[in-house]
């Protein structure tokens, strides 16, 4: 899952990014409100974490702008202003949730998960496709009851396919979801990651099908 973190305090942004990457999220960081639109233009972000107290273009303004352009990406607002007024304003402008600083990272993660579940029309924290299971709380895959070891990139690919299980995911969409800004997106590398994941799924009832010119599809044999 690729997240966009908008926070002007560089240190907090860096460490939040590190911590979320630790949990196998793909995280992009911007420090200014003006950069949000450009960052989201690439697509692929499943959620935005938005600090309200940004210099120049404030968080609320960013939110207003996003919603005015019809962008429906889930937004969790971070605010150092815990006043009711501030929270209500944020939610009124189209935020999906808010979190007052200082917060525990566990709470932020739980709220991220809740928003992602809702965005994908899921209520259960565990996603299953045949004997492949993804626990969105621990963010770990298991295959036939055994933990499945994946590199961060492989994890990102499989997670994206898993979330859209039973539906086709285009190469471009997969690429947008797994690469952050710092990485040169290489569409041909996608094939390599898919190939590696396929190998790790060998012998199970789950497989990644290639649909030429369309993309990939995660399915299990019972379907």
């Amino acid at each position: 899952m690729r997240l966009l973190l908008v926070e002007d305090n560089r240190e907090l942004a860096d460490w939040l990014g590190k911590t979320l990457r630790q949990a196998n999220y793909v995280v992009d960081i911007v420090h200014e409100g003006e950069d949000v639109e450009h960052a989201l233009a690439a697509g692929g972000h499943a959620l935005v974490i938005l600090d309200l107290a940004l210099p120049r273009m404030g968080g609320l303004e960013v939110l207003r702008m996003l919603r005015a352009r019809g962008n429906r990406v889930p937004v969790i607002v971070l605010t150092a202003n815990a006043s009711l007024d501030g929270r209500v304003k944020g939610l009124n402008e189209g935020a999906d949730d808010y979190l007052a600083k200082p917060f525990q990272i566990e709470e932020l993660e739980a709220r991220i998960r809740a928003q992602l579940r809702r965005a994908n029309d899921r209520t259960a924290p565990v996603v299953a496709c045949g004997d492949l299971v993804f626990d969105t709380n621990t963010r770990l895959f298991s295959l036939a009851g055994e933990p499945l070891a994946l590199t961060p990139r492989e994890h990102a690919v499989l997670e994206q396919l898993m979330v859209k299980a039973g539906r086709t995911v285009s190469k471009a969409a997969l690429s947008a979801a797994i690469y952050d800004f710092e990485t040169d997106a290489d569409p041909s590398a996608i094939e390599i990651y898919v190939h590696r994941v396929r190998k790790k799924l060998e012998g199970s009832r789950v497989q990644i099908a290639t649909l030429r010119g369309l993309g990939y599809l995660l399915r299990h044999e019972d379907q």
Binding site: N9, E11, L12, W15, K18, T19, Q22, P55, K101, Q104
Partner: protein, 452 residues
């Protein structure tokens, strides 16, 4: 005895002098009562003596004196007075009456004692036709003083009752007037004391007199000042709490990261960062405390004699290690002592903030210079750095608390310059910003030199 009640004081000031006047009045009225009683008694004595004298006549060649009953009965006023009399010839022969009764010197009356009674006596002489050498006869009438004294008492008690009533009524009116006059004060007290008054709203006392109005106005002005101070404190505390939230979120994030990280190097890196963050948070807390101390009214104003040069030297010595680690050339240029009057701790803290800022915004290889001079009766402390400087349009704002220049990447608290201004202005000086000769920022602090 000291009287603390305004009512009692005013009452005492009105009633005591009045009572004194009444006492003098009573004393004089006692005299006049006595004079009146004397006059009345004397008239009666004279009337009685005349009546007796008129009855003295020569009957058959003998001088005869009969006492008409009316002459005695006129003294029967119900006070059981005894009447004594005698009638004597000019040669001293007693015609009738009590022997040995003392005689008064005509024409005035006199008081004497007879048969253990105090008497008022009057002697009246009258010639008798044909009495020869026995003429004139003298009639002496004396009366005991019961009726006289009763009259004095009656007259005097009447006056006494009048005076007493006067004083009492005056006292009553004083109390009544005080009650009415003090009512606005009582209402003011109740209004101030009222349990609903926690918000320091202005007090309104309808009907307050012109003497009490200034008190109410002063009270309201005082409460307005307190309210303003409380509001500024509240804003400060809210702002401070607000400013602590992001650093706390950072600490929590770094701690969580370190807890989850299994790679020793990465974990170590997180812990080092955590330590640095908590140091900065501690510095922020310290600055908040300094600022709250620098607020007017929060600390007893001190007037230490501080040598700014010496203070700057101490600050630079403690900051030297930071300068070295950042590869910044930190230097002091001074020309002897620069004594100023102010709060020593706060002045040092002011220099710390200036040097801290300069070091923070200087890039590696840059230089920071602290210069001290005495110019026109002022001590001038100049801190020069070669960092990015502050754009002209931002220079007014940077002294505001928590103000941070947009896009600034340095992790400042936004309090340093606010502290500097607060401290400098408290010490009667001023602080200005300007561009350095080769870019960077120059901060000039001017404080009045202490007279030597």
């Amino acid at each position: 005895m000291k009287i603390n009640s305004l009512r009692l004081q005013l009452l005492a000031w009105v009633v005591l002098p009045l009572a004194g006047l009444a006492t003098i009045n009573l004393w004089t009225s006692h005299g006049s009562a006595l004079a009146t009683a004397n006059l009345v008694t004397d008239r009666m004595l004279l009337g009685s003596a005349r009546t007796i004298a008129e009855q003295v006549a020569m009957t058959d060649g003998v001088l005869d004196a009969t006492i008409p009953p009316a002459a005695i009965e006129m003294f029967d006023t119900g006070d059981r007075d005894s009447v004594y009399y005698h009638v004597k010839t000019a040669r001293g022969r007693l015609l009738t009456g009590y022997p040995n009764l003392p005689e008064a010197l005509t024409p005035s009356s006199t008081e004497a004692t007879y048969r253990d009674h105090r008497l008022r006596l009057l002697t009246f002489s009258q010639g008798v036709v044909g009495a020869g050498k026995d003429s004139p006869i003298s009639v002496t009438v004396g009366v005991t003083l019961a009726g006289h004294d009763a009259m004095v008492r009656r007259l005097w008690f009447g006056a006494f009752a009048q005076q007493l009533a006067l004083v009492a009524i005056a006292g009553l009116f004083v109390l009544l007037g005080l009650h009415r006059g003090l009512a606005p004060l009582i209402r003011l007290r109740d209004a101030v004391r009222s349990p609903n008054r926690s918000d320091l709203d202005p007090v309104e006392v309808p009907g307050a007199q012109s003497e009490i109005r200034p008190l109410i106005e002063a009270l309201n002005a005082y409460m307005a000042r307190v309210r303003a101070q409380m509001a500024s404190q509240r804003r400060f505390v809210a702002n401070a709490a607000h400013q602590l939230r992001t650093p706390l979120a950072l600490l929590s994030t770094q701690a969580s990261y370190a807890l989850r990280e299994t790679v020793p190097d990465a974990r170590h890196e997180a812990l080092v960062a955590l330590q640095a963050s908590s140091g900065r948070l501690a510095r922020l807390a310290e600055q908040l405390l300094t600022l709250s101390r620098a607020e007017p009214g929060s600390r007893r104003p001190r007037a230490d004699r501080v040598d700014l040069t010496e203070a700057a030297r101490q600050v630079l010595e403690t900051h030297a290690p930071i300068a070295v680690s950042r590869n910044v050339d930190l230097g002091l240029e001074e020309a002897g002592p620069a004594p100023v009057i102010g709060d020593g701790t706060m002045l040092r803290e002011m220099i710390v903030n200036l040097v801290d800022n300069a070091l923070r915004y200087s890039s590696s290889g840059g230089s920071v210079t602290v210069r001290l001079a005495a110019v026109d009766g002022e001590a001038v402390l100049t801190v020069t750095d070669d960092g990015p400087g502050i754009p002209v349009e931002e220079r007014d704002h940077v002294f505001e608390r928590f103000y941070r220049i947009a896009g600034s990447t340095e992790e400042g608290s936004g309090l340093g310059l606010a502290i500097v201004r607060e401290v400098v202005e408290n010490a009667g000086g001023r602080v200005t910003l300007r561009d350095g000769a080769a870019g960077g920022l120059v901060v000039d602090v001017r404080l009045p030199l202490a007279s030597s």
